[in-house]
Symmetry: C2
Subunit: 499 residues, 2 copies
């Protein structure tokens, strides 16, 4: 047994051991991505002084690397939804997001998110985020035009559409190409810079929290220019330091299934530091096993008309779901191979526009020929396609419930792509677990009691998004920016603690 003292960067320092406060601020924020930036703006506008500590030499975080789609709606619709003719209801949005999170759903958090969503849209507009009042019709994994609105989840797909009226909620910034993230963070950064109450310390590492003997968080220890400095945070600390997708050890320990993916999505700082800091003062980490892991099978949108089969030649999911849902169900199958089968027409410009990178596994002038080439059980794929084609003719996918608009008979010649994880296809992943928080952003312990002075937002917290099965694009930046604001607001409302 090792009796050595635990001297771990993420173990808290005791306030009574602090000889001298090197810096003081009302609110210390760790991390300057979407969550940290929005937390700072909200807190400063509520009258608090704020210091953001960012490891990198510039703002950005994972938000800047993303498309920055933002999932918003409800309350009759945002300005963009209304302009595009969509009347969105809060209840439909709550239902959809609750189904998306499944048994892991945090009802209070989802409800708060949905009820405040059109106001959040307005807040973003007010700080200068531009959205065009136009609807992007085509099914896309991200919007490469400057259109302001698109479907970014499984809203129109079974079983969601049967429970909640579909409505597009992915809001895309008014800029061509996949450039939403950098633009979004540029706007947030400008907003931060023009507020005198906010200072930003770049190239600064947060080492650990500082806690009182009663367990309240009263500051953080940082390292800057080789020096360790004690920072008093009179109203609290907000952890916005991202997730842990870049921490291989934590992935292996907490979310080992994600290791079946091959491309971690996040910024190099997503090493779980914020989560570990929160845990070090008793914060509960929840949903740590869960992540987004995806088979990005579209574009082209025509892929939606193809079918996904396992090594039994069986379909097992409606192929009009969001790509993360397809990834989740694929990984849950007992099968050594997976193939995506489609016609030459559906294949269309696959090679040009696909992100997926899956290779052709076989082709067939007949279904029988393809079945043999893929070494599937004789009769298996033939049966699947026979029933599928009958259903296409009748206009109803009786087995997997793919929406009628995507039902096109699979007429040979056919192509099959090998989409087996580990055989070349791009399988991106990121974490969806983090510190348990109240809708206010207060970090709670395993008994759900708040830890005074500690808040978390963005990927460091476990937000509204909980499963690959129900993920929709825009939920991450939506949650990061909204939860950042909630935490900033709650911290700014806290009493100033001057010891």
């Amino acid at each position: 047994m090792n009796k050595a003292e635990k001297t771990n960067p993420s173990q808290p320092r005791k306030a009574r051991d602090v000889q001298h406060w090197d810096m003081e601020t009302d609110i210390a924020i760790v991390g300057f991505g979407g969550a940290g930036g929005c937390a700072a703006i909200e807190a400063a506008d509520a009258g608090s002084s704020v210091t953001i500590f960012e490891l990198a030499s510039a703002s950005g975080g994972s938000t800047a690397m993303s498309s920055a789609e933002i999932y918003m709606g409800g309350s009759g619709g945002t300005r963009v939804q209304k302009a595009c003719g969509f009347d969105d209801s809060t209840e439909d949005m709550v239902t959809y997001m609750t189904m998306a999170a499944g048994p892991q759903a945090d009802e209070a958090k989802i409800r708060n998110y949905c009820e405040s969503s059109t106001a959040h849209f307005q807040w973003l507009v007010d700080i200068g985020v531009p959205f065009k009042d136009s609807f992007h019709e085509e099914r896309a994994i991200m919007c490469l035009t400057d259109d302001g609105l698109l479907y970014t989840g499984s809203e129109k797909a079974y079983p969601f559409a049967q429970q909640a009226k579909p409505c597009p909620r992915g809001h895309n910034l008014y800029i061509e190409g996949d450039n939403g993230g950098p633009l979004f963070m540029k706007i947030v950064t400008e907003n931060v810079e023009k507020r005198e109450a906010i200072s930003v310390e770049y190239e600064t590492r947060a080492l650990c929290l500082i806690e009182d003997d009663d367990g309240s968080v009263v500051g953080i220890v940082i390292r800057k220019n080789q020096q360790e400095l004690n920072v008093r945070a009179r109203q609290g600390v907000i952890l916005c330091a991202g997730g842990f997708v870049m921490n291989e050890e934590m992935i292996a320990k907490y979310a080992p299934l994600l290791s079946r993916g091959n491309s971690p999505i996040g910024n190099p700082g997503d090493t779980g530091t914020g989560i570990l800091m929160g845990m070090s003062v008793g914060g509960a980490a929840i949903n740590m096993h869960e992540g987004f892991i995806s088979l990005p099978y579209y574009p082209p949108a025509s892929m939606t008309c193809g079918i996904l089969v396992n090594d039994k030649g069986q379909r097992f999911i409606n192929e009009d779901v969001y790509h993360g849902r397809m990834g989740a169900y694929l990984l849950a199958q007992q099968s050594e191979r997976f193939y995506y089968v489609l016609t030459i027409d559906q294949y269309s410009d696959y090679e040009k526009v696909s992100f997926m990178g899956a290779q052709v596994a076989g082709t067939g002038e007949t279904v029988e020929e393809l079945e043999a080439e893929l070494e599937l059980r004789k009769g298996s794929l033939q049966h699947t396609i026979e029933l599928y084609n009958e259903d296409c003719e009748a206009g109803e996918d009786t087995l997997q419930h793919k929406a009628a608009q995507w039902l096109e008979k699979l007429e040979p010649p056919l192509v099959a792509l090998d989409v087996t994880p580990g055989r070349g296809a791009f399988i991106p992943y990121f974490t969806l677990g983090g510190l348990d928080t109240l809708p206010s952003g207060e970090v709670v312990d395993p008994q759900r009691r708040s830890i005074p002075g500690l808040y978390a937002a963005g990927r460091t917290a476990c937000g509204v998004v909980r499963r690959a099965e129900g993920y929709s694009s825009g939920m991450s930046v939506g949650d990061a920016t909204f939860s950042g604001r909630m935490a900033g607001r709650a911290a700014a409302a806290a009493q100033r603690n001057s010891q």
Copy 2:
């Protein structure tokens, strides 16, 4: 924000706040089930004084409620394995258990378990646990005869049998009926009672750990006869307080998928106290989302010859796997109904011997008739059974790889049981997450550094068993007893701390 002091039973007390030690012992053990009992015996035999604190008025824990099958083998075989003609290899056992734990596997822990397994068998024999040198041939969910050995997992099933030579490792106590658990705990309790170095305090609740300023655990606070007492544990505290299956709030937070089961398996004390205590001093809790959740579809063993289909009429698992694996794959399907289809002969004495309690959903003089009665897509079940019957004739299940011995053509008349979760079938569940420990039982923090003075064993720790998908009967009591011994041994080897 709530600035009230955190006064939580599981928050640690500081040693410097202890005015008086009411009791002293070398090793304090929380919980007197299989893990706690074996930890105490091992520690006492190594020269330490031990006090066990048990909430209930008698020993037992979940071990006494179980069948107390014990999963052991390797190193050429235990005495029973050898006597029954089985030559078990450690490498096969390691391979099987590693596949069973999947991506969550703890390699060091599994290897230690397997390499020490025949010695563990001998240790059990030495304390008086009786095993008969006889093999139980029939496939059973538990052994109702007094036979000493049976297959209790998926060893003979795909994909395990293809990677590791099958060997039965479920050791059953020498007693008729499902009475292994009470007998096992009677023997352990007698062993505890006859050791003068061990005291047992029943009807005593462990309230919280006591820690030094350096983070070492030096005792526990207990409540007995309405009094709170400070107990100094000079060599450490071993948490053997069970899992959290009886804590609905923790299930909802950490393992919400388990709520799809309907029968929590465990004793009333399985409320997560031990895990929470460990977390309160910085211990990492891992694999918290995971649990055993099962469809106990056999006995009768003839059920293995039937097929499980979803609402698409598709098979999706080989029906010769352990029932927990079937439960796990069933829950991972997108399907609103599940049916177990079998012949009248296979149905046999189902009503008499089944634990499952699933009701008949339909019968058919032909497959077509059954398909219609179950409202399955026309042609779907017919196709499945057509291929299955062809495979049965050829003696190879080409699609799901059920072993040849179970392949019997499904000749009408047929019966279908409704095994949909939530529609009457018995779906037992328990947790498989807990404190992260080294093979020695030392509790580690999220960076895997040991917390001095703190150990955990049994269900309070996250042991060798990690997933429903790979669970085998006997792994729980096997792990509880073995990990208890490891923790007892490590604590007894620790330096005595007298402050």
